[in-house]
């Protein structure tokens, strides 16, 4: 790839992390060899809000259709044969 066409990320407050994502740097702007390297870097900095897991846990607890799913498989197996 033409070096001029590399994607640069000037602000580098985590060079160690950057080096794990296909970037090269010479104490200056970070350069991403490919767009997917830039996306990988962006993803590593994008943390899902904790509220999602909390909301998901609440949904699983409150959904009556999921009660059976929450039981261990062997309990469901034994319960199937019960009168």
């Amino acid at each position: 790839m033409d070096p001029q066409s590399r994607l640069r990320h000037e602000h580098s407050d985590d060079f160690a992390a950057a080096s794990r994502h296909g970037m090269v740097s010479q104490n200056g702007p970070l350069e991403f060899l490919h767009p997917e390297d830039l996306l990988r870097h962006d993803r590593s900095r994008t943390v899902p809000p904790a509220a999602i897991a909390q909301r998901l846990a609440a949904s699983i607890d409150q959904d009556p259709t999921l009660i059976q799913s929450r039981q261990p498989w062997w309990k469901r197996l034994l319960g199937r044969g019960a009168p």
Binding site: P35, A53, S59, T65, S69
Partner: protein, 192 residues
């Protein structure tokens, strides 16, 4: 309009999740969320372009996955399966949105004929700005290109798996990836 897609087609099979962590996610499913939550959130965020919608989508995707988790075959395919649910879910959301709104479609020929940027690449000062610029660049691409780049960016996916998710061969993925890279580089430069 295309019919909404079944978002949980062909799940792999393994034991269902069991046990709970006192109101938190069931223990083994919490592990699934920990392993894949960030990747799923990022894909949803960049496909939908809206953090709030992405949060809703991730919640819905994992809820659907939880319901079908008992049919998993093995951990190695969980990532691909979750991606498939996410792609179908986001596709359905975007179709519903498109039905209510006038929208434009990027002209792929623009990227085919444009030359590579010759001036200095873009410079970014803050992470937030980087995310916004990436989003604008992705939004300016043909949907196929942006999806391809987002999936290839996940090093846990092979080209074969990317091809499976996008319904094409691995060779086709390789062929289109070059054009997708070029298109993104051009679009990203325009966000300066």
């Amino acid at each position: 309009m295309a019919e909404p897609q079944d978002e949980t087609l062909s799940p792999p099979v393994c034991d269902p999740p069991s046990g709970t962590l006192g109101g938190a996610l069931p223990a083994d499913f919490a592990e699934v969320y920990d392993l894949h939550g960030q990747a799923i959130f990022y894909l949803a965020l960049r496909l939908l372009g809206d953090p709030v919608q992405a949060q809703d989508a991730v919640h819905d995707v994992f809820l659907k996955a939880f319901r079908k988790y008992g049919e998993f075959r093995g951990q190695s395919e969980v990532r691909t399966w979750l991606y498939r649910i996410t792609l179908n879910h986001c596709s359905n959301l975007r179709q519903a949105w498109a039905a209510r709104n006038i929208h434009t479609v990027a002209d792929e020929s623009v990227f085919e004929t444009a030359g590579a940027p010759t001036s200095s690449p873009l410079r970014i000062l803050e992470t937030k700005e980087l995310g916004e610029r990436i989003q604008r660049a992705l939004d300016g691409l043909p949907a196929e290109y942006s999806l391809l780049l987002l999936l290839v960016a996940d090093q846990e996916l092979s080209y074969e798996q990317v091809g499976e998710l996008t319904r094409q061969t691995a060779d086709a993925v390789r062929g289109k990836l070059h054009r997708a890279r070029k298109a993104f580089t051009l679009a990203f430069a325009k966000t300066a």
